[in-house]
Protein backbone atom coordinates (compact mmCIF):
# COMPACT_ATOMS: atom_id res chain seq x y z
CA UNK A 1 0.00 0.00 0.00
CA UNK A 2 1.31 3.41 -0.95
CA UNK A 3 1.78 5.58 2.12
CA UNK A 4 0.60 9.16 2.09
CA UNK A 5 3.02 11.74 3.46
CA UNK A 6 2.04 12.28 7.10
CA UNK A 7 0.37 15.51 8.23
CA UNK A 8 1.70 16.81 11.50
CA UNK A 9 0.14 19.26 13.91
CA UNK A 10 1.07 22.76 12.78
CA UNK A 11 3.50 24.55 15.03
CA UNK A 12 1.70 27.84 15.84
CA UNK A 13 4.89 29.85 15.47
CA UNK A 14 5.75 28.34 12.08
CA UNK A 15 2.17 28.72 10.85
CA UNK A 16 1.93 32.38 11.87
CA UNK A 17 5.35 33.16 10.41
CA UNK A 18 4.58 31.65 6.99
CA UNK A 19 1.00 33.00 7.01
CA UNK A 20 2.10 36.58 7.72
CA UNK A 21 5.02 36.30 5.27
CA UNK A 22 2.76 35.07 2.45
CA UNK A 23 0.19 37.75 3.29
CA UNK A 24 2.68 40.63 3.18
CA UNK A 25 4.34 39.32 0.02
CA UNK A 26 1.02 38.80 -1.78
CA UNK A 27 -0.50 42.17 -0.85
CA UNK A 28 2.79 43.91 -1.61
CA UNK A 29 2.87 42.28 -5.04
CA UNK A 30 -0.83 42.95 -5.60
CA UNK A 31 -0.26 46.69 -5.32
CA UNK A 32 2.55 46.87 -7.89
CA UNK A 33 1.58 48.46 -11.24
CA UNK A 34 2.20 45.23 -13.19
CA UNK A 35 -0.14 43.13 -11.04
CA UNK A 36 -2.66 45.97 -10.81
CA UNK A 37 -3.15 45.93 -14.59
CA UNK A 38 -3.81 42.17 -14.43
CA UNK A 39 -6.17 42.79 -11.51
CA UNK A 40 -8.19 45.28 -13.57
CA UNK A 41 -8.44 42.82 -16.46
CA UNK A 42 -9.53 40.08 -14.07
CA UNK A 43 -12.24 42.37 -12.65
CA UNK A 44 -13.50 43.15 -16.19
CA UNK A 45 -13.71 39.43 -16.93
CA UNK A 46 -15.71 38.85 -13.73
CA UNK A 47 -18.08 41.70 -14.63
CA UNK A 48 -18.55 40.17 -18.09
CA UNK A 49 -19.37 36.82 -16.47
CA UNK A 50 -21.81 38.52 -14.08
CA UNK A 51 -23.52 40.27 -17.00
CA UNK A 52 -23.77 36.93 -18.81
CA UNK A 53 -25.40 35.32 -15.78
CA UNK A 54 -27.87 38.20 -15.36
CA UNK A 55 -28.83 38.13 -19.05
CA UNK A 56 -29.04 34.32 -18.96
CA UNK A 57 -31.50 34.52 -16.07
CA UNK A 58 -33.67 37.06 -17.92
CA UNK A 59 -32.34 40.21 -16.26
CA UNK A 60 -31.09 43.40 -17.90
CA UNK A 61 -27.58 44.83 -17.62
CA UNK A 62 -25.03 46.52 -19.85
CA UNK A 63 -21.28 46.48 -19.35
CA UNK A 64 -18.60 49.10 -19.75
CA UNK A 65 -15.20 47.54 -18.88
CA UNK A 66 -15.47 46.78 -15.13
CA UNK A 67 -18.77 48.69 -14.72
CA UNK A 68 -22.11 46.93 -14.74
CA UNK A 69 -25.07 49.21 -15.50
CA UNK A 70 -28.78 48.78 -14.91
CA UNK A 71 -31.36 50.15 -17.37
CA UNK A 72 -32.34 52.76 -14.73
CA UNK A 73 -28.85 54.29 -14.79
CA UNK A 74 -27.39 52.72 -11.66
CA UNK A 75 -23.89 51.41 -12.21
CA UNK A 76 -21.58 49.36 -10.02
CA UNK A 77 -17.86 49.13 -10.68
CA UNK A 78 -15.79 46.14 -9.63
CA UNK A 79 -12.69 47.75 -8.24
CA UNK A 80 -9.64 46.46 -6.45
CA UNK A 81 -10.83 44.42 -3.48
CA UNK A 82 -14.30 43.79 -4.95
CA UNK A 83 -12.96 40.87 -6.99
CA UNK A 84 -12.35 38.76 -3.86
CA UNK A 85 -8.60 38.80 -4.38
CA UNK A 86 -8.19 39.90 -0.74
CA UNK A 87 -9.91 36.85 0.70
CA UNK A 88 -8.24 34.60 -1.88
CA UNK A 89 -4.88 35.85 -0.61
CA UNK A 90 -5.98 35.06 2.97
CA UNK A 91 -6.93 31.51 1.97
CA UNK A 92 -3.75 30.95 -0.03
CA UNK A 93 -1.58 32.18 2.84
CA UNK A 94 -3.34 29.87 5.32
CA UNK A 95 -3.15 26.84 3.00
CA UNK A 96 0.53 27.44 2.22
CA UNK A 97 1.33 27.88 5.92
CA UNK A 98 -0.37 24.62 6.95
CA UNK A 99 1.92 21.57 6.95
CA UNK A 100 0.38 19.33 4.28
CA UNK A 101 1.50 17.48 1.15
CA UNK A 102 1.93 19.77 -1.87
CA UNK A 103 -0.72 17.88 -3.82
CA UNK A 104 -3.29 18.66 -1.13
CA UNK A 105 -2.12 22.27 -0.98
CA UNK A 106 -2.59 22.61 -4.76
CA UNK A 107 -6.07 21.12 -4.44
CA UNK A 108 -6.91 23.55 -1.62
CA UNK A 109 -5.66 26.56 -3.57
CA UNK A 110 -7.53 25.72 -6.77
CA UNK A 111 -10.80 24.46 -5.27
CA UNK A 112 -10.85 27.14 -2.57
CA UNK A 113 -10.26 29.96 -5.06
CA UNK A 114 -13.02 28.60 -7.33
CA UNK A 115 -15.53 28.50 -4.46
CA UNK A 116 -14.57 32.01 -3.33
CA UNK A 117 -14.95 33.40 -6.86
CA UNK A 118 -18.34 31.69 -7.26
CA UNK A 119 -19.50 33.26 -3.98
CA UNK A 120 -18.14 36.60 -5.09
CA UNK A 121 -20.21 36.48 -8.26
CA UNK A 122 -23.30 35.98 -6.10
CA UNK A 123 -22.13 38.92 -3.98
CA UNK A 124 -21.54 41.20 -6.97
CA UNK A 125 -24.86 40.40 -8.64
CA UNK A 126 -26.76 40.83 -5.35
CA UNK A 127 -25.06 44.23 -4.86
CA UNK A 128 -26.09 45.22 -8.38
CA UNK A 129 -29.73 44.70 -7.42
CA UNK A 130 -29.45 46.08 -3.86
CA UNK A 131 -27.92 49.29 -5.24
CA UNK A 132 -30.94 49.82 -7.50
CA UNK A 133 -33.18 49.54 -4.46
CA UNK A 134 -31.30 51.58 -1.83
CA UNK A 135 -27.86 53.20 -1.68
CA UNK A 136 -27.77 52.99 2.13
CA UNK A 137 -28.28 49.25 2.06
CA UNK A 138 -25.81 49.01 -0.81
CA UNK A 139 -23.10 50.70 1.26
CA UNK A 140 -23.82 48.49 4.26
CA UNK A 141 -23.90 45.28 2.23
CA UNK A 142 -20.96 46.20 0.02
CA UNK A 143 -18.38 47.47 2.47
CA UNK A 144 -19.25 45.57 5.61
CA UNK A 145 -21.70 42.66 5.45
CA UNK A 146 -20.67 40.81 2.29
CA UNK A 147 -16.98 41.37 2.95
CA UNK A 148 -17.26 39.86 6.45
CA UNK A 149 -19.37 36.97 5.14
CA UNK A 150 -16.72 36.23 2.52
CA UNK A 151 -13.99 36.06 5.18
CA UNK A 152 -16.24 33.71 7.22
CA UNK A 153 -16.73 31.53 4.13
CA UNK A 154 -12.98 31.54 3.56
CA UNK A 155 -12.36 30.34 7.10
CA UNK A 156 -14.87 27.51 6.65
CA UNK A 157 -13.31 26.55 3.28
CA UNK A 158 -9.91 26.36 5.03
CA UNK A 159 -11.44 24.31 7.86
CA UNK A 160 -12.99 21.85 5.39
CA UNK A 161 -9.69 21.57 3.54
CA UNK A 162 -7.79 20.86 6.77
CA UNK A 163 -10.35 18.20 7.69
CA UNK A 164 -9.93 16.51 4.29
CA UNK A 165 -6.15 16.81 4.47
CA UNK A 166 -5.66 15.56 8.01
CA UNK A 167 -8.20 12.73 8.19
CA UNK A 168 -6.73 10.39 5.56
CA UNK A 169 -3.23 11.00 6.85
CA UNK A 170 -4.27 10.24 10.44
CA UNK A 171 -6.02 7.09 9.21
CA UNK A 172 -2.89 6.00 7.32
CA UNK A 173 -0.86 6.62 10.45
CA UNK A 174 -3.17 4.33 12.41
CA UNK A 175 -2.77 1.62 9.79
CA UNK A 176 -6.29 1.90 8.33
Amino acid sequence: MKRRPAVVSPSPFRFVLIFVGCLLFAFGALLTPAVQSLDVRFSSALVQLSQGLILGCGGHATRDAAILRAPGGFGVEMRDGCNAINVTVLLWSAVLAFPAPWKMKALGLVAGSAIIQALNLVRFISLFYIGQYSMTWFEFAHAYLWESLLVLDTMVIFWLWVQRTVRPAAATHAGV
Partner: protein, 207 residues
Protein backbone atom coordinates in the same frame (compact mmCIF):
# COMPACT_ATOMS: atom_id res chain seq x y z
CA UNK B 1 -21.74 14.49 5.21
CA UNK B 2 -21.80 13.96 8.99
CA UNK B 3 -18.06 14.67 9.06
CA UNK B 4 -18.70 18.22 7.84
CA UNK B 5 -21.39 18.95 10.43
CA UNK B 6 -19.27 21.25 12.63
CA UNK B 7 -18.28 23.38 9.63
CA UNK B 8 -21.84 23.58 8.30
CA UNK B 9 -23.20 24.44 11.73
CA UNK B 10 -20.53 27.11 12.22
CA UNK B 11 -21.15 28.58 8.75
CA UNK B 12 -24.93 28.79 9.20
CA UNK B 13 -24.75 30.17 12.74
CA UNK B 14 -21.92 32.54 11.81
CA UNK B 15 -23.75 33.90 8.77
CA UNK B 16 -26.99 34.47 10.70
CA UNK B 17 -25.13 36.10 13.60
CA UNK B 18 -23.08 38.28 11.24
CA UNK B 19 -26.21 39.55 9.51
CA UNK B 20 -27.96 40.17 12.86
CA UNK B 21 -25.03 41.76 14.70
CA UNK B 22 -23.86 43.89 11.78
CA UNK B 23 -27.43 45.18 11.27
CA UNK B 24 -27.57 46.02 14.99
CA UNK B 25 -24.14 47.70 14.69
CA UNK B 26 -25.14 49.70 11.60
CA UNK B 27 -28.39 51.03 13.05
CA UNK B 28 -27.72 51.22 16.80
CA UNK B 29 -24.13 50.72 17.89
CA UNK B 30 -22.23 52.64 15.23
CA UNK B 31 -22.81 56.11 16.69
CA UNK B 32 -21.73 55.21 20.25
CA UNK B 33 -18.77 53.19 18.96
CA UNK B 34 -17.54 56.11 16.82
CA UNK B 35 -17.90 58.35 19.86
CA UNK B 36 -15.81 55.94 21.98
CA UNK B 37 -13.22 55.55 19.21
CA UNK B 38 -12.90 59.32 18.94
CA UNK B 39 -12.51 59.59 22.71
CA UNK B 40 -9.87 56.84 22.92
CA UNK B 41 -7.93 58.14 19.91
CA UNK B 42 -8.16 61.63 21.41
CA UNK B 43 -5.71 60.50 24.10
CA UNK B 44 -3.03 60.14 21.41
CA UNK B 45 -4.09 62.72 18.79
CA UNK B 46 -5.99 65.95 18.73
CA UNK B 47 -9.36 65.36 17.09
CA UNK B 48 -11.89 68.12 16.47
CA UNK B 49 -15.25 68.19 14.78
CA UNK B 50 -15.09 69.93 11.41
CA UNK B 51 -18.08 72.09 10.34
CA UNK B 52 -19.11 69.27 8.00
CA UNK B 53 -19.36 66.96 11.11
CA UNK B 54 -16.31 65.10 9.83
CA UNK B 55 -13.22 64.82 12.03
CA UNK B 56 -10.14 67.03 11.84
CA UNK B 57 -7.08 65.12 12.99
CA UNK B 58 -3.85 66.77 14.13
CA UNK B 59 -1.04 64.23 13.91
CA UNK B 60 2.39 65.04 15.36
CA UNK B 61 5.25 64.69 12.85
CA UNK B 62 8.87 65.77 12.90
CA UNK B 63 9.96 66.77 9.42
CA UNK B 64 12.33 69.46 8.17
CA UNK B 65 10.96 71.15 5.09
CA UNK B 66 13.30 72.78 2.56
CA UNK B 67 13.20 76.53 2.05
CA UNK B 68 10.89 78.07 -0.55
CA UNK B 69 11.04 81.41 -2.41
CA UNK B 70 8.52 82.74 0.16
CA UNK B 71 10.40 81.28 3.13
CA UNK B 72 14.08 80.81 2.20
CA UNK B 73 15.19 79.05 5.40
CA UNK B 74 14.40 75.36 6.07
CA UNK B 75 11.68 75.00 8.66
CA UNK B 76 10.43 72.36 11.04
CA UNK B 77 6.99 70.81 10.58
CA UNK B 78 5.60 69.70 13.96
CA UNK B 79 2.14 68.42 13.00
CA UNK B 80 -0.16 67.74 10.08
CA UNK B 81 -3.88 68.49 10.10
CA UNK B 82 -6.23 66.65 7.83
CA UNK B 83 -9.93 66.02 7.61
CA UNK B 84 -11.28 62.51 7.88
CA UNK B 85 -14.87 61.86 6.83
CA UNK B 86 -16.82 60.03 9.54
CA UNK B 87 -17.73 57.44 6.93
CA UNK B 88 -14.02 56.53 6.66
CA UNK B 89 -13.76 56.01 10.41
CA UNK B 90 -16.65 53.52 10.37
CA UNK B 91 -14.37 50.68 9.24
CA UNK B 92 -12.42 50.99 12.50
CA UNK B 93 -15.48 49.90 14.49
CA UNK B 94 -16.45 46.92 12.31
CA UNK B 95 -14.16 44.28 13.84
CA UNK B 96 -15.93 44.12 17.19
CA UNK B 97 -19.38 42.89 16.02
CA UNK B 98 -17.66 40.52 13.59
CA UNK B 99 -15.64 39.09 16.48
CA UNK B 100 -18.77 38.63 18.61
CA UNK B 101 -20.47 36.80 15.73
CA UNK B 102 -17.56 34.36 15.33
CA UNK B 103 -17.26 33.60 19.03
CA UNK B 104 -21.02 33.16 19.50
CA UNK B 105 -21.20 30.97 16.39
CA UNK B 106 -18.45 28.74 17.73
CA UNK B 107 -19.88 27.51 21.01
CA UNK B 108 -22.45 30.01 22.30
CA UNK B 109 -22.19 32.47 25.19
CA UNK B 110 -21.84 30.19 28.23
CA UNK B 111 -18.81 28.25 27.06
CA UNK B 112 -17.19 31.29 25.55
CA UNK B 113 -17.64 34.00 28.13
CA UNK B 114 -13.90 34.34 28.77
CA UNK B 115 -12.80 34.63 25.10
CA UNK B 116 -15.82 36.87 24.49
CA UNK B 117 -14.81 39.37 27.19
CA UNK B 118 -11.07 39.10 26.66
CA UNK B 119 -11.47 39.27 22.88
CA UNK B 120 -13.69 42.35 23.17
CA UNK B 121 -10.88 44.13 24.99
CA UNK B 122 -8.26 42.91 22.50
CA UNK B 123 -10.40 43.86 19.47
CA UNK B 124 -11.07 47.32 20.93
CA UNK B 125 -7.31 47.84 21.30
CA UNK B 126 -6.67 46.58 17.75
CA UNK B 127 -9.32 48.90 16.31
CA UNK B 128 -7.70 51.83 18.08
CA UNK B 129 -4.23 50.82 16.83
CA UNK B 130 -5.57 50.51 13.26
CA UNK B 131 -7.17 53.95 13.48
CA UNK B 132 -3.98 55.52 14.86
CA UNK B 133 -1.97 53.64 12.23
CA UNK B 134 -4.16 55.08 9.48
CA UNK B 135 -3.73 58.60 10.88
CA UNK B 136 0.06 58.27 11.12
CA UNK B 137 0.49 56.71 7.66
CA UNK B 138 -1.66 59.45 6.10
CA UNK B 139 0.26 62.17 7.94
CA UNK B 140 3.64 60.64 7.04
CA UNK B 141 2.56 60.46 3.41
CA UNK B 142 1.51 64.13 3.42
CA UNK B 143 4.73 65.18 5.18
CA UNK B 144 6.85 63.28 2.64
CA UNK B 145 4.98 65.02 -0.20
CA UNK B 146 5.54 68.45 1.39
CA UNK B 147 9.23 67.70 1.98
CA UNK B 148 9.59 66.40 -1.56
CA UNK B 149 11.25 63.24 -0.27
CA UNK B 150 8.67 60.76 -1.49
CA UNK B 151 10.04 58.34 -4.08
CA UNK B 152 8.23 55.49 -5.86
CA UNK B 153 9.21 52.94 -3.19
CA UNK B 154 8.04 55.20 -0.37
CA UNK B 155 4.74 55.80 -2.17
CA UNK B 156 4.26 52.05 -2.62
CA UNK B 157 5.00 51.34 1.06
CA UNK B 158 2.44 53.96 2.14
CA UNK B 159 -0.08 52.52 -0.30
CA UNK B 160 0.45 48.96 1.01
CA UNK B 161 0.25 50.25 4.60
CA UNK B 162 -3.07 52.02 4.08
CA UNK B 163 -4.45 49.09 2.08
CA UNK B 164 -3.64 46.59 4.83
CA UNK B 165 -4.85 48.96 7.55
CA UNK B 166 -8.22 49.71 5.93
CA UNK B 167 -9.02 46.86 3.54
CA UNK B 168 -7.48 43.76 5.13
CA UNK B 169 -6.88 43.95 8.89
CA UNK B 170 -10.35 45.16 10.00
CA UNK B 171 -11.90 42.12 8.27
CA UNK B 172 -9.22 39.53 9.07
CA UNK B 173 -8.32 40.56 12.64
CA UNK B 174 -11.53 39.27 14.31
CA UNK B 175 -10.94 35.80 12.86
CA UNK B 176 -7.28 35.75 13.88
CA UNK B 177 -8.12 36.92 17.42
CA UNK B 178 -10.99 34.41 17.71
CA UNK B 179 -8.71 31.55 16.66
CA UNK B 180 -6.03 32.72 19.08
CA UNK B 181 -8.31 33.07 22.11
CA UNK B 182 -10.85 30.28 21.56
CA UNK B 183 -8.60 27.24 21.80
CA UNK B 184 -11.49 24.84 21.29
CA UNK B 185 -12.32 26.51 17.96
CA UNK B 186 -8.70 26.66 16.81
CA UNK B 187 -8.26 22.99 17.86
CA UNK B 188 -11.19 22.08 15.60
CA UNK B 189 -10.18 24.29 12.66
CA UNK B 190 -6.54 23.17 12.66
CA UNK B 191 -7.58 19.55 13.45
CA UNK B 192 -5.03 19.45 16.23
CA UNK B 193 -6.52 16.34 17.85
CA UNK B 194 -6.91 14.44 14.57
CA UNK B 195 -3.38 15.22 13.42
CA UNK B 196 -1.91 13.51 16.50
CA UNK B 197 -1.33 9.80 16.21
CA UNK B 198 -4.22 7.82 17.74
CA UNK B 199 -1.82 5.90 19.98
CA UNK B 200 -0.55 9.07 21.57
CA UNK B 201 -4.09 10.25 22.27
CA UNK B 202 -4.99 6.95 23.90
CA UNK B 203 -1.94 7.08 26.17
CA UNK B 204 -2.68 10.66 27.09
CA UNK B 205 -6.25 9.71 27.96
CA UNK B 206 -5.16 6.80 30.18
CA UNK B 207 -2.88 9.09 32.16
Amino acid sequence: MRAFEPQTRFLVRGSVLLIALLTLWWFVLLGPMLYLLRGAAGVFLMIEDAPSSDWTLRVPVDVTLPGTPQQPLPWQLRSIDFEMPRSEAVIFTLSLPVYWAIILAAHGVRRNLRPLLLGTAVMTAIELVLFLGYAHITAADAAAQLAGTEDAAGKWIHHVGVYLDVSVFPYAAPFVVALSLDLELSGEVFALRQARTPGTTAIARRR
